[in-house]
Symmetry: C3
Subunit: 216 residues, 3 copies
């Protein structure tokens, strides 16, 4: 009872954090109140909806349990009204976002394993659960997905999902192990942010040198 | 028999209207005939495909009944050839689009309720059925979804889906009640268009005032 | 045994080719290693995931069989490191891409027919299987989908899927018939490339003539 309550609170915290990130992006694009709430809801629930579709848990939890949508919509609306203050809380948001990343990675991977998806597929589903909402947010607001460009964001999720798959394979996927996995993603993400770690970028052939011209 | 025929005709009318909106957007982007038909089909059928996936009605109706695809493709092709004339019918298209919005909201919400999705989730699915095709259209053509920016568009759908959920909860979801709900969305959308109602937009901090510079 | 091995090799070849196309597009957008692999995996597996969701084969093959993800990820990573050399292989890539188009069209259509989707829907699913990954690639990298603009690309897939549906209706959907269908799409696509065939583009009203101005 207590455990499931803790899990629910943790899950809804992740939903709220991702709703806030989506709503902030939408405010920056000057969408109206509905647009801000919509992008917030997609960012908060999109990854989980995709996860539930591929493991055939229908209707997806986001539609089956009203608390998910309510948390997402209320958070996004709050961001709409409060965003000047939130701008000053940027660090807090990044920290919470890292926590959400850890949580969604672990729950996504675990649900896929429980649905008998093999380990590699379960890790992919875990990563997509964690980054899927952000992908939806960026597609809706017309950006190349930040998750594809930002420091180690998705790689932290991938590392966490592999850890969960290993824990599960060795029968250690109980509460303590999972909390370790969540903390692992969380810390990895924060350290990456702090140190500005990033994956290598391909070198393109250098542009031809020209003495003139705006694009020379 | 008569009722189901009326419903089918109404449903296909909605498909045709949304196909026309998708095809018009694709023509404006100078896509070729296939591209215009493809965007038209996505705009017409995308919302319903998403709806059927989340309520586990597979294969989705758009693939199971050829009349949906045929109506969408034929309408989009017609727009491709006739679009200069259609431009003059802009008001007609807006009115039909409002009718399609009402229809898809009501049928989407109702199908979700019939599939035992709780009321809040069913309303979300109803709204996504109604606006999903337009989202697909805008993503394909590289626009920030108009539905997130336009006057009260999705809010009219949301109001209609809540009305359907209430009618269903009180056992009044029969033909007359549903027609009222469709008309409600239709009129709400038209009045919003007419009066240029829109949801509030967040105020951003004003740019710093500068005496010079193009971005000052 | 031999047949299924041949099919698997052919399928994974298609996955590799589409992964290479996705990775190349991501390199051009200067994404980091993870981003390149991610876009490559989406391009390679996206169409098949959509196909499996609509025919209710869950979890989708891309998650159920690790060889699909491994092939896609390894190919995309190779492109990341080797892309200057690959640029010189552009013709080879186009030829392989045409082969992938044929393969995914035929397997997609066939799987849909096997899942009892009616012929028109099965053809739509076959086309979406073949072009879906490329759509995902272009959405992620912020482009209007090339498949909607390029010469006869999707039309070759549509013609191939109709051929498969006809073969199936007349009981000829055995290995030889399917190889003919794959070759048909392959050749049609290559001839279209060679001759620069394309579907007609709608004429827009001419811009107003002006004597001055950058957009006159």
């Amino acid at each position: 009872m207590t455990t499931s309550t803790v899990l629910l609170v943790a899950d809804l915290t992740g939903v709220a954090v991702f709703a806030a990130s989506g709503a902030s992006a939408a405010v920056a694009k000057r969408l109206d109140l509905f647009g801000v709430v919509f992008v917030g809801v997609v960012a908060a629930l999109g990854g989980g909806i995709f996860r539930d579709l591929v493991i055939n848990e229908v209707p997806p939890l986001a539609f089956a349990d009203w608390r998910y949508a309510a948390t997402a919509a209320a958070t996004a609306a709050a961001v709409f009204w409060l965003h000047p203050q939130l701008a000053r809380l940027r660090t807090t948001v990044l920290v919470l976002d890292a926590a959400g990343l850890g949580l969604f990675t672990v729950t996504g991977t675990l649900k896929a394993l429980d649905a008998h998806v093999p380990a590699v597929g379960a890790c992919m589903i875990g990563v997509l659960t964690a980054i899927g909402g952000g992908l939806g947010r960026d597609l809706l607001t017309g950006e190349i997905p930040v998750v594809l460009r930002r420091e180690i964001y998705a790689l932290a999720a991938l590392a966490g999902s592999i850890l969960v798959a290993l824990l599960s394979a060795y029968g250690q996927a109980h509460a303590a192990g999972l909390i370790v996995a969540i903390a692992f993603v969380f810390v990895l993400r924060l350290v990456a942010l702090r140190r500005r770690w990033s994956a290598p970028v391909a070198t393109l052939r250098p542009p031809r040198t020209g003495t003139r011209g705006p694009r020379g």
